[in-house]
Structure formats: C-alpha cells, structure tokens
Subunit: 331 residues, 2 copies
DNA sequence: TAATTTTAAGTAAACGTTTACGGTAAGCGC
DNA sequence: GCGCTTACCGTAAACGTTTACTTAAAATTA
C-alpha cells in the first residue's frame, strides 16, 4: 500500500495535523519537527493524495478542454498554449475530443462535472443549448476560444473573422486582382463560415468588383475539400486570378490541385489562406495567409479561466497577414 | 451548493446507501423506490462526485500521457488514438507536454502520482532512470509508445525502426539509385536516431553501395533542420540522386530546399520520408514515405495499459512504404 | 403455522486529507 | 506568583462516496 499521511505521522511521532500543516506551509511547528517530518516523508516516499485533498478543498487543479478534433493543426497549437499556461498555474488538463458529436460532447461535459474540474475551455465549437445549460449547472468558469455564443453569456476569445477575411480579400485586391474566388466554410457555420464569406463579399463590394455565387465554393475546412473546391471554382469561373481560402488546409488543397493541373502558384494563380498553421510555411511555395495567434489564444484562455479579478471580458485578438510567396502582384 | 447523495436520500426518504446501490446497479431495492430515487435525482440535478468515489474505490478512471511535444503531427495522431481508446474504456486523459525537459517531466510524474491516475503512457521519450524509478514507485501500469527502455522492463509498442529504415533505403536502391544520402536524427538518440541510420547503412552495405559520413546529415527531426541538412548534403555530395529522411518533417524541409534551388523532385532528386504524418500526402509532390500506424499505436497502447489479462507483451507494429510521387525510377 | 431463507433497507466505518477548536507549556509583564 | 498571550501540537469533524454489517419484513419451505 502507498504510504499515507498517517504513516508519516506515526513514524515521525507527531499527529497528522502537524504533517498536514508542514506540507501546506501553515504555521504551528518548530523547525526541528519540520525537518524530522520531512525526513520521514523522503524516507518512506510519501506523496500526498490529491484526490483526498480535492474532496475537502473542493478544488482539483484540473481543467477540461473540449475540441472537435485534437489532431488538427489548429487544435495542436491551441492545445499547446493551453497546456503551457495551465502547467504554469498548476493545473492539469483533460482533453476531450468531441468529434463534433453532440452525444459525445454531453458525455464529456458529464464526466468533467463528475470529476469536479475547476474550469472548462471549449474551442472551435458551436455551443448548443444543451451544452450551455449543462455548463451553467456546473457553476464553474468557462471560456470559449475560436467561437462565441450569443445565447449564453460566456467570455470568449477570438479574432474578428469578418474583418480578417475582409483584409485578406483587400490584400488580393491591392495586389491588382479583380477576379477573386473564395473557398469558404458552410454558411450554416456562424462562427468560421459565414463571417469570412461576409468579409470577402464586403471587400469585393467596397472595391466594386464582381460578386457571384459561382465565385464561392463551399468546403469543410479540410484538405480534400480544398482540392474539390478549387476544381469547382476553375470549372465555373476560369478567369479568376486569385482565391481566398477560409483555412490553410483548404489553401493547401487548392495548391495541390493547381500543381496537378500545371497551374503555377503564384504566377498563374494567387492563393491566400487563413489561420497560419504550422504547415503554411512549409508549403511550396510558402503560403501567404492571415495569422491567428492561436497559441497565445490558448494561453490567454486559461489565464481568463482562472483570473482572480471579478468579471472577465471577452477578447478580440489581433490578426495580421503574413506575406509569403503564394500571392503575386498583377496589373 | 451542488446536491450530494444525501440530498437525494433525504428528499427521496431513503438512506444514502440505497441511493448508492441504485446508482451502482447493485441489488437491494424495489423497482418502486428505484424510480422514485431516479426522479429525485433528475429533479434536483444530482451528479455523483467522482472525487469522493475515487477516494474510496482507489480508482480514478483517469490516465496520463507524457509527450515531448503535443503539437507535432506525430503526437497529434497518437493522441487521437489514445483519446479515442481511453474514451471508449471510460477513462479521461491528462496531457503532459514535457518539452523534452527533465525537470518538467518529473513534475508531471509527481502530479500524476498525486492525482492517483490509473495508468501512464509515455511517448517518444527516452526513459531516464529518474523517470523509471518514479514510475516504479507508483505501482501503476505504464506503457511506452514509439520508444523503449532497456533498463526498465516496461511494455512498449513501436515499429522496428532499423528494419523500416532498411526497407526505405532498399526501396530507393531498387528504384535504381546508387548515390543515396540520408537526413538522420542524432546518433545519441537511441530510439529514433541511431537505428534508422543503422538500417540505412546496412541496406547500402548489402547492395555494395558507397557509404560515407558525408552522405549523412544530422538534423533534429524538425522542418528547419531538414532544410539545413539538404543544403549540407548537396554541398558535400552533389552527386546524390536520392535521400532518405528520418522524418516526414525533415523530408518537407528537403523538399522546400530543393524547390528553392530549382531542383526538381522527383526528376532531379528522389526523397523518401518516415512516419507518414498527415502532411505527407499534402506536399507537392506528395511524399513517398514509410508508414507508421501511429493512430493504431495510440489505441493499442491504452488497451495494453488497461488489459485485464496478466502480463502484457510488447508489440512491434507493422510498417510499410506508401508510394506517392517523390521518388523516381532511374537507370 | 412455524422455521427458514430471501429481500429491502438502514447504520456506520472507511477512504486520506484539511481545519476548527481545544489544550498545554512557555514566555512575559506586573 | 498570577494572569495573559503566544507557540506548538493533538483531537475530531468534515468532505461525498462505497460497503460490510445489521435488521426487519416478506417470501418460501416444511
């Protein structure tokens, strides 16, 4: 059996209260007994039981993160930010891969509730009513990352998607492009889909460029869909000279499609992505894209989660375009 | 305050023992009282406290995973496999990003011990003595993934690196290449470095091809180092027609370097990678590489961890070459 | 019907901590 | 020497469960 605090107490000839006080650096013992107790602890290899402690303190120093897909590049970067900040603050993080599955999500919410986590971060996921209510019932801090909720008043941290998309499109326009296509997410996706499409349209409108439904292809943010969308775009609107992809992954798909068809990027076609995930700089050519500070958002989200100052404010993080080699100036 | 079991007992007019029995599907109550209790539970929104339960049952249904870098592609895929299997078995997983930092690793081991996790998976990390001893003291199951320990008898699950490297090299040889370079990891890295280099050398030796120190450049498995190594290789041994990279990321670096220098892959240079991470199929051209079944290894590792049959055997997973377009046959 | 077994339920100890409270001895001021 | 504070430390309750043990009633058997 693992040694417990009373084993330590017995062996050191003191009460468990004293051992506990020493462990928690509370006052109430001489330096002499402290040393003796510490020696016993080392000797028998005692480690406090965080479960028992959690039970009385009602604080587990554990938090949960829900994300639709842990293995996406975006999630990886976010997770690292979260883990780093959590570790610094002394928290452990439980990962929950929801797979965008509602049933699985409620299961996770339940587990996290039962495990008495001290806080929850929800990333990239639309907050259904059931989730929000479950969260409310738990009475613990929650923060949303890369998403928002209009129904529930939960602090969030994200980028201004519409504006970012606007700027990406404007960037292409300023490079002389007039026939610009977009590879977007679903319009039903109120978080990462619609706003980016709106930003794109707004920019075209402001510069009096043609907007047609044909110029937008709808993917699901993944690589394969980028390929398919690029194909679609080229068949319907062969005159386009540039495309804005709503995710780097789809931009990579577009890049691959172009390569296969012998279309040179950026000479024949300019591509701008979104996210600035790690592989954006590894592509051929390196991808110009709008940078979301995902790692920092991860960090900030746990800092918000455990912020000691009362009401936490949502944060709109700054984005910016990182210029690489997938966009060419034309005239 | 959150409702407790005694709140439901009181409200239902039974003892907490009965409520507990109902919750745990133990015998000892009528269907009538069961329904009544369940109703109360629903009514007041009671959720069992897993911390309290864990204290008495000495079982937390929580496990830990240690990895050097959560945001690497390899780790992402592995993590997903682990999380999936864990979720299926009812376990939560705590992630620990060690950053290859010894101090941080022991910290994590401590936290996991205190939190009474039921098992630990260690991935891609050389098991220092201190870790092994800490692990031993915890008396809980451990499994190693993508790594081994010779000093500690801990079950592992990995690929035969030397053989895989041998086959990758042989593949190049069979495609007619005679001047083959390698971008390897460090020789000090007994897990992913040395064996792959040995496999490479063995293949060259078996086919009577030239082996020189010049033909091996040493990277750290990351993208940047792939670029640097490719540069190095070309300066020292311009005659090479093919290279075997010990990781896909380094292969991507090599690809980028070639692109910048106007060297066509696979026409002027063939490249084979290692890992078959998600981006291997997204590169231009798609990367031929040796596939490690990382997701499955993740799954299997937790199945091993919580396997009920006595002694668990280590597993060598099968690898295979996936042919894409970065290697060309020459004569 | 009486004896016996089975079933439904309650009581209380245990899990390993933290912590409020109390007690004793020492130190101090007068 | 007496009262008071302070420092050190022990006792025991509490945290929310599970579970061994007990008990009373119901069901079964003879």
């Amino acid at each position: 059996m693992k040694p417990t605090i009373s084993d330590v107490a017995k062996k050191a000839g003191v009460s468990i209260a004293t051992v506990s006080r020493i462990l928690n650096r509370l006052p109430g013992y001489t330096e002499e007994t402290r040393k003796a107790v510490l020696n016993v602890i080392r000797e028998i290899g005692y480690k406090p039981n965080a479960i028992a402690r959690g039970l009385v303190k009602k604080h587990t120093y554990t938090m949960g993160v829900l994300l639709p897909n842990i293995s996406s590049r975006l999630a990886s970067a976010l997770l690292k930010g979260i883990e780093d900040a959590a570790h610094r603050l002394g928290y452990s993080v439980i990962i929950c891969n929801t797979d965008n599955d509602g049933r699985r999500t409620v299961e996770y919410l339940n587990v996290l509730a039962e495990k008495q986590v001290d806080g929850i971060i929800i990333a990239s996921e639309w907050l259904k009513d059931a989730y929000g209510e479950a969260l409310l019932a738990m009475k613990i801090p929650v923060v949303l990352v890369l998403t928002v909720s209009y129904r529930f008043q939960i602090p969030y941290i994200k980028v201004d998607d519409k504006q970012a998309a606007y700027q990406a499109t404007k960037y292409l326009i300023e490079k002389g492009h007039k026939e610009i296509g977009m590879i977007g997410g679903s319009v039903q996706d109120i978080i990462a889909g619609l706003p980016r499409i709106e930003g794109y349209k707004q920019a075209l409108a402001d510069y009096n460029l043609t907007i047609t439904d044909d110029r937008i292809a709808f993917g699901n943010f993944a690589y394969e869909s980028g390929i398919r969308c690029m194909d679609e775009l080229f068949q319907k609107v062969p005159e386009i000279t540039a495309v804005f992809a709503a995710s780097d992954e789809m931009a990579l798909g577009a890049l691959s499609f172009a390569f296969r068809k012998g279309i040179k990027v950026p000479d024949d076609l300019s591509i701008i992505g979104y996210d600035d995930t790690q592989d954006a700089e590894m592509t051929i050519p390196p991808l110009t894209t709008v940078h979301q500070p995902v790692y920092e958002m991860g960090k900030k989200s746990v800092e918000m989660l455990f912020s000691t100052k009362g009401a936490v404010e949502s944060i709109i993080m700054p984005h910016y375009i990182v210029e690489r080699d997938s966009v060419k100036k034309i005239n």
